[in-house]
Subunit: 86 residues, 2 copies
């Protein structure tokens, strides 16, 4: 199939409930994280009918919402250390 | 090398500056995301000297901070759709 202009190629969507114990969640209880191939992919997704419909139905049900987009830069790929738990 | 009790085996740390255009960032400007093999891995990391030292130096410099932990559940692994940008 020929690729159309603005095709959203890949999107990985994960979700989860907050289980943190540091008490720094500021009242937020859930996370939805969407991974795109590029920042441009987000710009293509925002006006997409699937996103518009999702936002229209979902957001009004939320007490509060916070959205950030970022291009991940790897700081540590692997980390090994002894942890003394006494 | 024999594995010690409480060993933090794998940690992927990524960072990025917010580039969202929806204006829902609530004043937060940066993201630090750390990926562990398990929820238990986070519990092992919290009292780790590296984390304690990082928190002691880093957190006081921040205007505000929000921390959530979640176990990601995959909702969509791949997504393909035509997006009409007109």
């Amino acid at each position: 199939m020929e690729e159309a202009k603005g095709l959203v190629k890949h999107m990985l969507l994960v979700r989860g409930r907050d289980v943190s114990i540091e008490n720094l969640h500021q009242g937020f209880t859930h996370v939805l994280e969407t991974t795109f191939e590029s920042i441009e992919g987000i710009a293509q997704y925002l006006p997409h009918l699937a996103h518009v419909e999702f936002s229209k139905q979902f957001v009004p049900q939320l007490e509060k919402v916070l959205v950030v987009n970022f291009k991940p830069t790897i700081v540590h790929k692997q980390y090994s250390a002894d942890v003394m738990l006494i």
